[in-house]
């Protein structure tokens, strides 16, 4: 072994060196330059959005790319690099992100950090000071100051026509003869440069700016042409970790990632924050009686649905493929194209069309058959409707796959079977069948995994329903994925943390079930 390897190497080195033509170099460096430009563009976009780590990551990947493709070294990496980057970006990263999310309470009302959330709560508590006037506003800077960075001044007219100037120290009257008014709004004032809407909009400090008034209130801009005197009713005592409502004297303390009333009476403040909750989401899944009660039932139907879907589509598709593989049939190409049609129609459309066809009173199916089956309002009816629809949607795929596999079967074994006098059934069972399974086995497993999580079909056809009396969470035709969706995102407060936890459990289940399948498909290969 070693000897042959070394001789081969010798023969390789003894060959004259291969000269790469100049255009190949040009192409290579062109592509590399294009790649660098692209990553640079992405990096600037990310830098704009302020994602420092993402910029570093992109730069790192770009440098690795340059190293791998720009040099003559690392030949295996030239083949692996792209795959690895895509694998990490599109497969590993989402899983890691989902896992990380599942350990938090991230969800509706818990999106921001505690600091941001509290600030938002306080901003929401700002009320117009009782009896205070509404002002007509002109935003200005002192003459000679920069429009984009000079200190802000509010030129105000109250509803009695009095004019004022306000800055960060307070409000002062402004002599009327020094200003020009237009419909109550100051359009010009001596010593000031007024800002137009676009200029005022560019001043990001305008939102924070307030002309202080007594009792901690402030005159704030409402848009560009109006101002009001507002005052937050909440007071945040950072040291004590409490918030006090100055009007109702209610004290709020931080609990369960939101501010709740200390005395337990009343509603919490609306905005909560995101925090780590450890394995709480997993604990909820395993201990909540509603979730646990529905889980087993849904799981069994889920497995049955996926298995039956694969079985029915495969058998139907295979039979059609066998039929149309017979060279005695004329116009096979036409039939084959027609049979692929259901596959070409988007699931969105066909599932909705089938949904209306299953309508008890107006649907085509009951009308044609003169039956009165409540397809979608009855647990077994809904399950049957789903399987029938999925058969329609899925058989063309199996048909294509089987047709391909049948045409690549070696003719000699079939001939041998014929010579041995095997019947058609016997040939199918002992020769065609096993050989077909070798080819399509892994595809059946993939199809099983796909149907196991066939969210779109269920959501479009039955929304998981019909639901059992008294529990609108657990539907008779729910799959784990639609159930998880409703549980985590359809409740009072959509909870991405819980959704992440359920997704990870489903991931584990599908992986566990597919594994033996793949092992078996290896055994099938040994038949050959």
């Amino acid at each position: 072994m070693a000897a042959t390897a070394s001789t081969r190497e010798e023969s390789l080195t003894s060959l004259p060196p291969v000269t790469t033509p100049w255009w190949a170099h040009l192409c290579k460096w062109g592509v590399i330059a294009l790649g660098i430009v692209l990553t640079f563009y992405v990096a600037t976009k990310l830098a704009d959005a302020g994602h420092t780590f993402a910029v570093i990551g992109v730069a790192f990947v770009a440098m690795c790319g340059l190293l791998v493709y720009g040099t003559r070294r690392a030949v295996p990496a030239k083949y692996l690099f792209f795959g690895v980057v895509l694998l990490v970006g599109l497969q590993v990263w989402p899983i890691v992100y989902t896992a990380a999310t599942s350990l938090t309470n991230y969800g509706q009302g818990h999106l921001a950090s505690k600091e941001d959330a509290t600030r938002q709560d306080i901003a929401y508590s700002v009320q117009q000071v009782a009896g205070s006037p509404t002002y007509t506003l002109t935003v200005a800077v002192k003459d000679g100051q920069s429009i984009s960075s000079g200190d802000l001044y509010f030129l105000l007219t109250d509803n009695k026509g009095q004019t004022y100037v306000g800055d960060k120290t307070g409000l002062k009257p402004l002599a009327k003869d020094s200003v020009t008014l237009q419909a109550g709004k100051i359009v010009k004032a001596d010593g000031f440069t007024t800002l137009n809407l676009l200029q005022a909009n560019k001043r990001k400090d305008l939102g924070q700016f307030a002309v202080p008034t007594k009792d901690g209130g402030g005159i704030k801009a409402s848009g560009f042409a109006a101002a009001y005197e507002g005052k937050p009713t909440l007071d945040w005592d950072k040291k004590a970790g409490t918030i006090t409502d100055t009007t109702t004297k209610q004290v709020y303390v931080a609990k369960d990632a939101q501010w709740v009333p200390k005395n337990g009476k009343g509603q919490p403040l609306p905005v909560g924050w995101k925090e780590n909750v450890g394995f709480d989401n997993f604990r909820t899944i395993f201990t909540d009686s509603t979730i646990r009660g529905g889980f087993l039932k849904i799981f069994i139907w889920n497995v049955c649905f996926a298995a039956l879907s694969v079985l029915t589509t495969f058998v139907f598709g295979m039979l059609l493929a066998l039929l149309l593989n017979d060279s005695r049939i004329r116009g096979r190409g036409l039939y084959r194209s027609l049979l692929i049609l259901p596959y070409a129609v988007p699931v969105f459309v066909s599932a909705l069309v089938w949904g209306s066809m299953f309508n008890q009173q107006f649907g085509l199916i009951n009308n044609l058959t003169h039956l009165d089956i409540d397809w979608l309002g009855n647990a077994w009816g809904a399950r049957a409707a789903i399987l029938i629809t999925n058969l329609w949607l899925g058989f063309p795929y199996m048909f294509i796959v089987c047709t391909g596999a049948l045409q690549s079967l070696p003719g000699d074994v079939l001939e041998a079977a014929k010579i041995d006098g095997a019947s058609a059934w016997r040939t199918l069972r002992s020769v065609t069948g096993p050989l077909l399974l070798v080819a399509v086995g892994p595809l059946l497993i993939a199809s099983f995994a796909f149907n196991f999580n066939n969210f779109g079909l269920i959501q479009l056809l039955t929304q998981g329903g019909p639901f059992n009396s008294g529990n609108a969470q657990i539907g008779s035709s729910d799959l784990l994925i639609t159930y998880a969706y409703r549980l985590a995102l359809g409740g009072t407060t959509p909870d991405y943390g819980l959704a992440g936890a359920v997704a990870i459990i489903i991931f584990a289940l599908v992986a566990l079930m597919s594994f033996p399948g793949f092992l078996r498909s290896k055994q099938l290969e040994e038949v050959n």
Binding site: W93, Y97, L489
Partner: protein, 446 residues
Amino acid sequence: MIKRTLAVALASATALTLAGCGGSSSDGSKSSAAGTDAGTSAAATGGAKSTAAAAPTEVSTKNPTRDKSADLVIWADATSAPYVRQLATQFGKANGVKVAVQIANDVRGQYETAFKAGQAPDVIVGANDWTGELVANGAIAPVQLPADVASGFNAQAIAATKYNNQTYAVPYGVENLALVRNTALAPTAPKTMDELVSMGQKLKKAGKVTNILSDQVGKTGNAYNGYPFLSACGGGIFGTKANGDYDPSKVMVNSAGSIKGATEMAELGKVGALSTNIDSTNADTLFATKKTAFEITGPWSIPAFKKAGIKYSIDPLPSVAGCGPMKPFLGVQMFFVSSKAKNATIAQTFVTSFLTTKSAQETLFKVGQRPPALTAAYDDVTKSDPDVAKWAAAAKGGKLMPNIPAMNSVWGPLGQAMADVVSGKSQPKARFDKAQQEIVKNIAKG
């Protein structure tokens, strides 16, 4: 060599993973099922409803991307976008700013996704029942309407913009259910449900129609369309606090009034006036193809009826025997300003100074012909469009659609309870008791 290559690859992989922590978010799960969620879509705006019913291919999960070159970015659904664009152009010309109006198929879901990613638009067009959820996420900014401006609006429309004593939006239209009647088939308006049923049964016997009434129920129920039956008998969903806000701790789904309403629904189910076979996909078609003389629906259905050439009349919902008249939910269409608006000053100016004008409100009337929220504009459009006053008459006594997040846990259970009662699967009392328990439990879970 290979080992080193692997090390580089792995290191780059780790770097990428770390990088992601600072950057993108990957939860598109909410928008991926946009508009298909039974509960919220049932209660969603008329615009969303009509587009969903009209063409399923329009249900796109693609998120609009924020137009970065504009000085003001507005997201609206496909129905309102053309008119909002008209207004935006006017505003832009008058103030020398560039405004972009972009279409989002599911404004609420897509806005929340974009907000989390820091790519939110400055202004969105939505409905009052979104408020609680958006506030909980800290996603919208308060809006200051001076008292003299606010007093020019319909009082209920202004009430609809408030949440926890704070104003969050500028309203433009009020929408509610009413009884739409085919005047060729039914020349007079039924005053009571019993009258409606007997008129419908006569038409059915004569072979003129196939259904007594078209009212969306569906297999999983529709609490929005079912609510008027509860309100007719003094029932409802939530009780109110002292200040008039809905109180999530007072669920009244199994109150005596609600159960009385549910019993009426069961009766109507028995005679075939209500049916779980009628849902959002076929309710309007039944009326437009003259297969029924009555439909309980809102202003969003009217364009389809006009197109079909149906002569119709809009009447207040009939009353229920032994109870009072059915009172619908009032939905208020409004403009919200993002709390992280990149152009907050322009957004606030557009919303508070421009949209509160009569001409702007009249332009917005063209979005689904909803009665304008601004009284002056309402008075004006009533003169040219007789339907407007009829919708407003049907709104009489109606209550605002709850804007508290707890409402999210009502749609599913209550809708299913209604469907079960209509189909005769369950007894009203027992079924609504169960629904009450489930709703209370879900709200407690948060």
